[in-house]
């Protein structure tokens, strides 16, 4: 289709949350063609989709339903990256407001078990890339090591599961990156994580949809 030559590479889903600008600016700094939209047709036509989010899961799901985007998001086949709350929305259920999420990656969102450490978990923490004999490190995590810090701000977290591609430890282990088929989620804010975050976003931008090796 001829009109596709001008289509934006990346579409940020306008979930009605307030931090979209920082994600938009980070992608522009990487030279990506990026657009913010709540239009199902625009979202479906994107090469890659980003679901940002701050606030509560209940409010964000209500916004998604109010914009009629639930089924659009659930049916996407291109690479999709959920950031922070946007990652949590990809799972089945969040205890934050007892809300049913998009159900795209098996998993549960529960209050972070900080074991006496201060909440919110706010600041720079390290990632542990999860890889086994069966499951190599995901391409989105290429170049990331245990010495790299990324910026977290959250009180709820996705519990560890077979879909956990990287973990973080704050009182207890939780999922920092999750993935299944074309859907990926990052609990931290890559758009605010300096050079490491830029690397992760660059990896996502360059991700070959065919190469996704997340377990399904």
């Amino acid at each position: 289709m001829a009109e596709q030559t001008n289509k934006p590479q990346l579409v940020i889903v306008d979930t009605g949350c307030a931090n979209i600008t920082s994600v938009f600016c980070a992608l522009e700094r990487l030279g990506a063609s990026v657009q913010i939209s709540a239009d199902p047709a625009v979202i479906r036509a994107a090469e890659k989709v980003i679901i940002p989010g701050v606030g509560t899961a209940k409010q964000a799901m209500a916004n998604i339903d109010a914009k009629g985007l639930r089924s659009t998001l659930q049916q996407l086949t291109q690479p999709v990256l959920g950031i922070c709350l946007g990652m949590q929305l990809l799972t089945e259920h969040s205890a934050e407001g007892d809300v049913t999420c998009l159900g795209l990656i098996p998993g549960q969102v529960a209050p972070l078990e900080a074991k006496g450490l201060r909440l919110p978990h706010m600041g720079w923490n390290t990632l542990q890339v999860e890889s086994t004999a069966l499951q190599a490190a995901h391409p989105v995590l290429q170049g990331i090591t245990a010495a790299d810090y990324v910026y977290f701000v959250h009180s709820f977290a996705v519990q560890p599961s077979p879909y956990m591609l990287a973990s973080c430890d704050y009182g207890s282990k939780f999922a920092a990156v999750i993935g299944r088929r074309n859907f990926l989620g990052m609990q931290f804010h890559p758009e605010r994580s300096g050079k490491v975050g830029a690397r992760l976003l660059q990896n996502f931008i360059q991700l070959d949809a065919q190469s996704l090796r997340a377990p399904d």
Binding site: G55, R118, M122, G123, Y151, H154, S193
Partner: protein, 257 residues
Amino acid sequence: MLAKRLIPCLDVRDGVVVKGVQFRNHEIIGDIVPLAARYAEEGADELVFYDITASSDGRVVDKSWVRKIAEVIDIPFCVAGGIKSVADAGKILELGADKISVNSPALARPELISELNAAFGQQCVVVGIDSYFDATTGQYQVYQYTGDESRSQKTRWLLLDWVEEVQRRGAGEIVLNCMNQDGVRQGYDLAQLSLVRQYCQVPLIASGGAGAVQHFIDVFRDADVDGALAASVFHKGIIAIPDLKAALIAANVEIRP
């Protein structure tokens, strides 16, 4: 492990970065965006921008510089100054700030903290507290409108009561500005910060008094704060952030290299 944060603070007045001594006699340091970009590049973990005239002037201020910062900076930043409502805060966050910080308006109307928490979540809501140790009464007193010498005044709040109140109302972080130490570079107020730490379950940021590398080591070790905010030592080039980080790592403080 969660790293301790180093946070350069840029006091903004009429669109430029300024610095005063004990909240007075402001001198111009430079333009906002290049300074912010330099600190991010040098390894600052976060930046705070205080519009120090906003609350005391009671005027609507031009915040277009927030968007310019968001375009350039790839680390988190917080904006403070004159945020009196959910609508004010929403505009700042839409322009690209990660957090907003309230001080005098929260003292004037404490329910503002609860409203901001409900609208944007706890992680967005920072409460700044200006505290002054009154040697005659032996009490830590909370002050407001400290951006303007002529309007700066003592409030009815004692420090620890206010620390508890802002947490009850949903603050996600507290920045404690120890006024006696501000700008004099004699070290953070370790006694006061250690005291507040016992009553503060959310992240606590130390502010006021940084003058030497050892002061940062002391405040992380002795007062167990989550972050240390400083202005003049960074603006005047007394301490370079990479050197500071190396010294903290050598002192076994958890730091993002």
